[in-house]
């Protein structure tokens, strides 16, 4: 069996791949940003002590974590237009990724919230903050610091999940690879390069996560 490697397909089409990689990175960051907001609100609901709010958050987490992401994506992109909600491929990708990441981060952030000693909440209340302000200003920052490494792990999974959105023709890195492969049949070179580019994207995300940690969680070094 003779196969002569020819990476010229990569160099000739690097712009296509780079455009795909750029969308992948943007989708990842937006999904994580929106998803984290959902996760923080979800963890508030889960720890509120209100049965209705807890039930809503729990149902959300159960449905999302126990169904395939591809089905969630298809439902939002192909299903929702039936009830008049038509999203572009990119919009559907961001919405579905954020909803998906939100469910996982709800449970991760909840663990962080539950790790905060009751005395912290009492000290906040004693100063005169209401419960929501205590949650925002006093509970959430150290809670996020406590679960930061788990959260970053989930962020990386979210980045890798984005490759699924190529299935609705959102022009991400995987879509760009599929497109080139269909035209050149250089599968080895293309998917090898794709893997390396994904690795590079994850490293970029990890570097950002490190910057965020150094900027916002400096205090965590000094915790007793």
């Amino acid at each position: 069996m003779h196969y002569s490697f020819d990476f010229s397909v990569i160099w000739d089409n690097f712009g296509v791949l780079l455009a795909g990689a750029w969308l992948t990175l943007r989708l990842s960051l937006m999904a994580v940003a929106f998803g984290l907001v959902i996760g923080i609100v979800g963890s508030l609901f889960r720890t509120s002590g209100n049965r209705l709010l807890n039930g809503i958050a729990l149902a959300y987490v159960e449905v999302i974590r126990n169904t395939p992401y591809l089905i969630q994506l298809f439902f939002i992109f192909f299903g929702l237009p039936a009830v008049g909600l038509k999203l572009s491929a990119e919009q559907a990708a961001i919405v579905s990724l954020a909803i998906n990441f939100g469910a996982y981060s709800t449970e991760i952030v909840r663990a962080g919230v539950e790790s905060i000693p009751k005395g912290q909440v009492e000290a906040g209340l004693a100063i005169g903050f209401n419960k929501l302000d205590v949650f925002r200003h006093i509970v959430i920052p150290p809670a996020l610091a406590n679960i930061y490494s788990s959260l970053v792990g989930q962020v990386i999974l979210a980045v890798l999940f984005t490759s699924v959105v190529s299935q609705i023709a959102a022009e991400d890195l995987t879509y760009a690879g599929n497109y080139l492969d269909a035209r050149t049949f250089r599968s080895f070179e293309i998917y090898f390069t794709l893997a390396i580019l994904y690795l590079a994207i994850v490293w970029i995300v990890k570097a950002l996560a490190y910057v965020v940690e150094a900027r916002f969680f400096e205090f965590a070094k000094y915790r007793q």
Binding site: P117, G119, Q120, E122, A123, G124, L125, A126, I127, G128, F129, N130, D133, H137, I138, P141, P142, A145, F217, E218, F219, K221, Y222, R223, Q224
Partner: protein, 262 residues
Amino acid sequence: MTSLQTELNGKSTATLEKPPIIVAKNVEKTYGNGFHVLKGVSLTVNKGEVVVLMGPSGSGKSTFIRTFNGLEPYQKGSIEIDGTPISNGKKGIELVRREVGMVFQQFNLFPHLTVLKNITIGPIKLRGLSKADAEQAAMELLEKVGIAHQAKKYPGQLSGGQQQRVAIARALAMKPKVMLFDEPTSALDPEMVREVLDVMRSLAESGMTMVCVTHEVGFAREVADRIIFLTEGNLIADTTPDQFFNNPKEERLKTFLSQILH
């Protein structure tokens, strides 16, 4: 005007100057597990008074002062802070809490905020102070408690005694009408107790109304205007330090004193 009248007038003026800040009447509380922790406790604390609560563990003293700022709900009786009732589940409790400073056994400083921000977060977000004003006031308080040079550090970088002094400054920053201390030195290493008591002592001298749950006999003896003795959810003594330590009448109190004054 006779001298007696002058004296009476003087007294009535004194009473006017010292209105009650805390009025607790027949406060009763039962925990969810059925434990009847407060069995109808009444206490009036006047402006400028330093009241020390003593009693064996489980007597309900911490629970009692925690009802004063609504951290601990109660079932029967009534509590008023400077005329405002503290009732269970009522909206507006946050407004009363701003007037009542609390210092906890475990300090409970916010680990993610520097010492300075621990102190300014309340005044900025709740009292509407500008950052500059809040920081200036905070630095003055930190001077008073002797840790101004640590303002930029995080609580985790401070010793227990320093943390508790920051916690006192944090409570004072809200300019409360009364300060509650819930065993403020019980979690400290022995060599750090004094620095915290010194701050409390100078606070008392400045005229702050204080209610302290503490086992510090020296502090109670020297600083308290009144000592309250609680046991098994009942208030059984409300007297001067001198009477409390030198001439106790109640049997339960005598037993308690014999146990703590080795």
